[in-house]
Subunit: 664 residues, 2 copies
């Protein structure tokens, strides 16, 4: 057995958190966040140890060091903030604190009335050693201190001086780090702009934006639609693919196998003689039109997100230009998409086992780079789980290296491990199972899962009550109350959420067939003409809720979420709050779309920053009503007819020391 | 960003278990054990994947491969056995299973009545590719198969042939592994002989073995004591240090600061002019006497364990020969042990920050090697947590490299993280908190902690109701019932346990001072003369319990432990069983040393391999009484006067398939 380089490094560092998959993957933060780091750290024997949190920006060579604090059971905690977009590194270091050990022992010896002459000499040597590492002025102070401790006849003065707090701090600053232990990994935080976490998305089909029914909409029409979206308070406007649509095997209305001559086709069947993934569907307009729309949106505070779907219609230019990117069948034809026995002959998947995979990866990367070059910094990626995982691990940092503010949303409604893997590989946000989580128990379990443990460190949930592919059963049957409360849940459980409009705000609820989740007359296959001014539209409520989201910092984050007990399974109650208690929001939702439900909530007052003995006011931000509550148990009643949810704002009580200690 | 070497490796491998601290530390097994390995494993898209468990002995170059089975939610499981002492490596591999995907899809197409002409051609190509990797005979079979699938007018025959089970297995054997993914770590199992896990220890002081009171015992006297120990059924005989004892600052009886001239001193104050850690205390005898004792013990099936305490009396030869191994105080004297304000001037600790640490490590290793050379293969290490951790990580494999059958027991009664670290570093067994865990809740929580998660993979508990340092309060006050039931708990909760005798079997219960845990007239500082033939001795019960341990395989392991509910907090109930149900032991203990306690136990029948509707017999191995029980709820009553425990043996019912599915 080989000995270690220096066997005198006596401090052990274990169980560093956060650390995803042994440090293989970064954790995620947004600008201004804090990274709390914990580790088990201890030495042999009774010597004191000291722990340091080391961190640096990627471009810096030198580590910054902050002391960590012991929190019990050999666990230590520290934190650092990440003020800039980009990558930071962090790790943990520790060492035996000889001076701290000496000082603590000395205090005990003095209390026991022991002769400490030799101990003072020992300490003097430790202080003199620290002096050697200090700069001029501190060195002089330390040397003087070392001298005074061993001065003849110093007596009681030397003892007092030996335990001087300020001088101890000075020694700590000049610890010899020769025998410091380092955690064996340098861990990474990727820091994005705030929109990575806090965003409200509105999806619409540009081709349905025409003011005239039956006419193909254009980017110009979209410009006219911008104020409508802005007034509802969204900040991301997401378009399904805007590229030329294939003609070969084009699908007709309601996913009919054969299209009629005037059928517009699915925007996800990408590519034709008119171009592929970096082209614009001619009927939508020109690149100049697209740029104009992008700029007008930006002026209104609205950022455009594009849908990147890496698949090709049979007439996509790549099919002839890069035949090796596609899989061949034994008869020499190209393999179309299928999920046997279903066949999707209008779609050719890309072959990630192609001999030209290297070239394929470059080609796909160039799609992102092209649109990023056109100022698009948010990509909603279609079915990323059907593309090879190593590709995502490479392409996301590759794009961010050139465009650090690019964000990626993974549209992978699939198994948990697969969704988590994509998030680890770099996807900023992910669609979630929220779409199908309806009951109190389902919602509670799922959101506890998303906001605890490692998952919260890398998985950025984006909550959608509906999508063009998914009209959940609850929205088919639940009427207006279902749309209202699913909106409240999405917008308050998730720091990021989105809706597929206008289907959502207009309450579109007819399925293609009973028991299915496809929309009848799905916009995926035909132009739609929406009556946005309909009096039943939820646009007013949406605007109100998005305003509440902006105004209340607690709703900008996924953590700080606490569920509170209710005595009625139709009532779900949860709160979000910032750590300092500056923003506290309490949400109560009636999950019954038919009946008035009432009951008692049992609030976790500590989580709400309230004192048990003081009255506090809850202000319903939806209705303006205020209630005066005291203690954990309070009565609520919610009517699906009127408004199936409360969104209360609370103000933190000034807690006295005792109750803070007690409650935290 | 650099691309990976081959971006076409599409299978992801995550969360491999067991894997201790990202694979830094081995897991532990004994000869003949099975290692169950699990991993999350999945690919992109809908392709099937296949998973392999790879393993090899350290000396083998080639990996053996066994298929893993999907157990749901993308988790896979496999296992391998470790028939030999030494080190094994294991890891997980996976790849896309193109043939499996093709075969499953083909079956669906056939059911749907689709034309599969091209699909058969695709399959034929896959089979032909496998043939290229096959040996002569299999190759011929595969090529023939490939040909038949595409034969003109084969029709329905080709379809049947395509789905042939046997031929599918043949293709699976010749998968191209070019695009196989490997877990990024090779994990280690250390495999010890069975005694590493299953052992019953008896500790006694050789110097107290004289048949005559007041006379210093010898190894010859110990030989005469062997049958007594063997008859009680122990298999490890552990001696406190047998080295010369220091004279400087020797402690007197009851730890008095000054010794009387005839005081024998503490065996842990090691070394004098007569020698150090590789010498034998002259009053015990010669090396020849020691060898004779060792051989006689071995003939009786008793293995001697030595106590290795790395610390020195001031007159230890090392103090003058290796002054750099000790720390100096500022006045030039050597630093003695202390825990301020307490001073232990009879002990010099070794300085693991010595400039000569390299030399010190060699010196300490040589102590182990010396005694291993003398045939001692079990070391009980005194206070390993006060020696540098890196030393243990080096020395344990270093010793085992030359003497693979050496076992190490860590005597570290300290914080959980520290005890766990020592086990990770290589200690085979560890003392535990069992000594102080008394209530039903304490015992249940602690043993669930020790037998679940990662801890069970590396931490080998050894349970001691008493030690020369620790007379727990319960044994001071609880009388005979306390000794009896603590013995039952230790011997059945732990596959390894030990007692400090004769203090234990003779019920020694007087503390040095009330509230403390030191023995009055502790054997650590004086010769003792024990009346081993006392009629109150528990030696008969001990012999019976050790016989029960040997006869019942369930008690040879720490896993397979299940706690069963009782309606009385004074009654604890647990079972151990082998996985196949061949050995099932159910233990019920009355924790009240004064009162008869009775109540109802609610048995987990699945854990006991019993059917809910069938009568089963429980046979008390202590009393021979048998009871006929049915269903989970059964009545028990235990008297501290008679026997405070049941140790029941059960026979597994022949469970029908349905109840197995239901219960597991």
């Amino acid at each position: 057995m080989r000995k270690p380089e220096d066997g005198r490094r006596r401090v052990v560092i274990e169980s560093v958190k956060p650390e995803i998959d042994c440090g293989r993957f970064p954790v995620k933060r947004v600008v201004g966040d804090t990274v709390v780091v914990e580790a088990d750290l201890f030495g042999d024997g009774h010597d004191h140890v000291s722990a340091s949190l080391l961190f640096r920006r990627e471009r810096d060579r030198n580590w910054q060091s902050l002391p960590m604090t012991a929190i019990g059971n050999d666990r230590w905690r520290g934190n650092f903030t990440v003020p800039e977009q980009g990558r930071y590194y962090y790790t943990v270091a520790g060492q035996v604190d000889h001076f701290g050990t000496w000082r603590a022992d000395l205090a005990k010896r003095i209390v026991a009335g022991q002769d400490v002459t030799v101990d003072l000499k020992n300490g003097s040597l430790l202080i003199a050693a620290a002096a050697q590492l200090a700069k001029t002025r501190d060195r002089a102070r330390l040397l003087e201190w070392a001298r005074l401790l061993v001065e003849e006849n110093a007596g009681a003065d030397a003892k007092t001086l030996a335990l001087d707090e300020g001088l101890a701090g000075l020694v700590a600053r000049y610890q010899d780090k020769k025998l410091q232990s380092r955690h064996d990994k340098e861990l990474v935080v990727t820091v994005d702009r705030e929109r990575a976490r806090f965003s409200a998305w509105y999806e619409f089909f540009p081709r349905s934006a025409s003011p005239e029914a039956g006419v193909h909409g254009t980017f110009k029409d979209c410009e006219a639609r911008l104020p409508y979206v802005v007034q509802m308070g969204f900040d991301v406007l997401y378009f399904p693919p805007i590229h030329p649509i294939g003609h070969a095997f084009r699908k007709g209305k309601n996913n009919a196998v054969s299209a009629e001559p005037d059928d517009v086709g699915s925007p996800w069947a990408i590519g034709s003689a008119e171009g592929g993934h970096t082209s614009i569907h001619p009927q939508l307009g020109t690149l100049a039109d697209f740029r104009s729309l992008r700029d007008k949106a930006a002026l209104l505070g609205l950022e455009i997100a594009l849908d990147i779907a890496f698949q090709c219609a049979p007439d996509h230019p790549w099919v002839t230009k890069h035949p090796a990117w596609f899989k061949k069948r034994a008869d020499g034809t190209i393999q179309y998409a299928e999920n046997p026995p279903k066949k999707y002959q209008d779609i050719y998947p890309l072959d990630f086992e192609s001999d030209e995979w290297d070239d394929l990866w470059d080609g796909l990367r160039d799609v992102f780079l092209y649109w990023a070059g056109e100022g698009i910094k948010i990509f909603r990626v279609d079915n990323p789980h059907t593309k090879a995982f190593p590709f995502w691990e490479w392409v996301i940092p590759e794009v961010k290296r050139r465009y650090p503010d690019v964000l990626f949303l993974a549209e992978a409604f699939t198994r948990p491990r697969v969704m988590q893997r994509l998030a680890k590989l770099g996807f900023t946000q992910s669609y979630t199972y929220f779409t199908w989580r309806n009951t109190k128990q389902e919602l509670t379990e799922y959101f506890i899962e998303l906001t605890t443990d490692d998952v919260k460190e890398y998985f950025g949930p984006n909550l959608w009550p509906n999508t063009p592919d998914i009209l959940p059963e609850l929205l088919q049957t639940g009427g207006k109350a279902a749309f209202e409360y699913r909106l409240v849940l999405a917008a308050t459980l998730g720091a990021s959420y989105g809706i597929y409009g206008a289907a959502f705000e207009l309450g579109e609820s007819a399925p293609f067939k009973p028991g299915g989740e496809e929309y009848l007359h799905s916009e995926k296959y035909e132009l739609k003409h929406w009556d946005l001014a309909a009096p039943t539209s939820l646009s007013g409520l949406i605007a109100q809720i998005n305003r509440i989201r902006r105004d209340n910092l607690a709703l900008h984050s996924n953590v700080g979420l606490v569920f509170h007990a209710t005595d009625n399974d139709s009532l779900i109650c949860y709160s979000k709050s910032t750590e300092d208690g500056a923003s506290i929001v309490l949400v109560i939702v009636n999950l019954d779309t038919v009946n008035v439900q009432s009951g008692w909530v049992s609030l976790n007052l500590t989580a709400l920053h309230q004192a048990p003995d003081k009255t506090f006011t809850v202000e319903d931000l939806l209705t303006g009503a205020t209630y005066s509550w005291q203690g954990p148990t309070n009565y609520v009643e919610l009517s699906p007819e009127k408004m199936p949810a409360h969104i209360f704002r609370l103000t933190a009580a000034t807690l006295d020391e005792a109750s803070v200690d007690d409650g935290k």
